[in-house]
Amino acid sequence: MVIVAGFAVSILAGVVLYFLPAIQVALRDTGQANTSLGGDPQLRPVSASESLSSTSPFTLLLLGSDSDSKFKGDYLTQSMILTRVDPVTKHVTMLSIPRDLWVRLCNGRNGKIDQAFLHGGAQCAIQTVEHDLNVHIDYYAWIGLQGLVSVLNQVGGVNVIANNPVMDDYYPADLSGGNPFDYQRILVLPGAQHMDGTLALEYVRARHDDAYGDFARSQRQQQILIALRAKTKTLTLADIPSLASSLGSNFQTNMSIGQVSGLLPIAGSVPLASITQVVLLPPYTSTEVVSNQDALRPNWALIRSEVAKFFPAN
């Protein structure tokens, strides 16, 4: 059986959250064209003067996909993290949406939520999450696998405390240039350590030898996102060109320069104690076989109650 490894990519969303202002300034200043930036025109158009440095809380859907050669532009989202940022209270909430969550997709069909992006890109992913979780989403950011590794390397990696030995004898060997369906063994040792892009990807992507599988790696994805906060204090304008080029087509967003101009100081000023992490373990979800697929059946009443609490309408 081909095991399509999930790709954690909320991290990139984290990168977006922290670095997008600089990246977009760099794109503007360097004159590089990137059609993936600028966003989906059907997605809640906003004026250029609107800025995230305002006092209003906003929501951001972070999406991550395997984007290696196994796929040809038809990407599932292996990682979805719904994030709410309150610039005034400096509180950040991150809710990981399991990729196997069985939902009503934007096209009216039932399926796993990771298929929404495949069927209709970011717009479908957003519509699906908005409808099923009863939440409003202001912005999105999507990152591909190689982009995540590149950006983490560009910023010099992150310091992380690995909670336990992360082991996987069936980890996808899809970044080494050979057969993308091959496996490799990986081991991330426990404890505090420095991780470069490749090691961090292994940390957030491995799932086979894990008591909590996708849930555990969702927690690790959020952990990497939080670790990225430290980088906001060391980023300078001189880093921008290389950061921008490292993303390339591995990045999409609907945020404009004006909208993200205030993100960097916000990210750097959020204290650890003001970050709430949410993962939808049972009883919020339950494992079932649905349409011959291993899936997670949502308890919508419980989930929507939590979403209403953590992601209130402004």
């Binding site: 405390i161 004898d169 080494s176 490799q184 063994r185 990986i186 505090a192 420095h194």
Partner: protein, 339 residues
């Protein structure tokens, strides 16, 4: 296949920062000078730090040399880690390979990589003739299960051992891990014959945590010394076997703590360093002074730190041994030789 760890991307010529090489030998300008020789790992190489400076052991190229341990005869046990397996070696302090104690490389052109094995966290037994370690054996046959977790084993230093999916031929199994957690790691054989270690466990509540446990013999029931809520690991025991240093993980930060071990009972720990990125404590030969790895800020390099009289009621202040531009492998404890 590209190496999957971060260390392989770094040049091995000198101590380095995250960003690039620096022509720096930290021991020439340390904040604190320590007696004897301290062995650390950085960028896949073993360095010896002493009063005369720091030097890189000229070990054979290939793989990462990590987790040095000092043997009673003055040689070192060192793990050599490759992409998908690791092996244990005995080497001289001059960097000469004296013996290869395991051979986990499948020297075939069409290997099944799941048959490879890890061996890590070597520790010398109290009589100096045996080695304790963690390895991912036994494990189910390939394609039968995804499970791969560490178990604790011991084996004679003088004998041959073979690690296979069924277990370690020539070795003694000590523990049975909690499945899909990472298992049991970081064994510390104690003078009384017991073995202290970190055991990862599934709480059943969405988390995997580490507890310090002690066993009085192979396959004996583990006695928990810490609670799941404490989430402590990385034990290091001072000479004499009574003072335990450990790192307790709180998610984004950790505490470095010490406690007193008496049989299968651990005292209430004292926090030496709070809210740190501490890892891999190890003790001086005398058992008085503690070394550990730490990054002084969330984005900083991992350096070697020192606390004098760490087991006392009034320990010394934490001092950085290596320069701030040095970036050590934080998952590899330092080994301190008296001379």
């Amino acid at each position: 296949m590209a190496f999957s760890g971060f260390a392989a991307n770094r040049s091995l010529a000198a101590f380095q920062t995250h960003g690039g090489s620096v022509s720096l030998v930290s021991a020439t300008s340390p904040q604190v000078r320590l007696p004897g020789t301290i062995f650390v790992s950085q960028g896949g190489a073993i360095y010896a730090i002493s009063a005369s400076g720091a030097r890189r052991l000229p070990l054979p190229a290939g793989g990462d040399w990590i987790q040095p341990r000092v043997l009673p005869d003055g040689s070192l046990l060192v793990v050599r880690r490759f992409d998908e397996y690791s092996d244990l070696y005995r080497v001289s302090t001059a960097g000469k390979v004296l013996a290869q104690l395991s051979d986990n490389n499948q020297a075939t052109s069409n290997k099944t990589l799941q048959l490879d094995h890890w061996i890590l966290w070597p520790a010398i037994g109290p009589d100096g003739t045996s080695v304790y370690f963690a390895t991912d054996a036994p494990k189910p046959a390939p394609s039968q299960s995804y499970e791969v977790d560490f178990s604790l084993w011991s084996a004679p230093l003088s004998g041959d051992m073979t690690i296979a999916d069924q277990g370690v031929t020539g070795g003694t199994r000590w523990s049975v891990p909690d499945a899909y957690t990472g298992g049991d790691v970081e064994p510390v054989p104690l003078p009384d014959g017991n073995v202290l270690y970190s055991s990862y466990a599934n709480t059943g509540k969405g988390t995997v945590v580490s507890v310090l446990g002690v066993q009085t013999g192979p396959h004996s029931t583990m006695v928990s010394l810490t609670t799941p809520a404490q989430n402590c690991g990385a034990p290091a025991v001072a000479a004499g076997g009574a003072t335990v240093a450990m790192v307790c993980d709180h998610g984004q930060t950790a505490d470095l703590e010490v406690a007193t071990l008496s049989g299968t009972t651990l005292s209430v720990p004292r926090v030496l360093v709070a809210n740190c990125l501490c890892n891999s404590p190890s003790w001086s030969p005398s058992g008085d002074n503690l070394l550990y790895m730490n990054a002084s800020n969330p984005d900083g390099n991992f350096g070697l730190w020192y606390i004098a009289n760490a087991g006392n009621a009034h320990p010394g202040a934490a001092k950085r041994v290596t320069d701030t531009s040095v970036d050590l492998d934080a998952t590899s404890a330092a080994a301190w030789m008296a001379r």
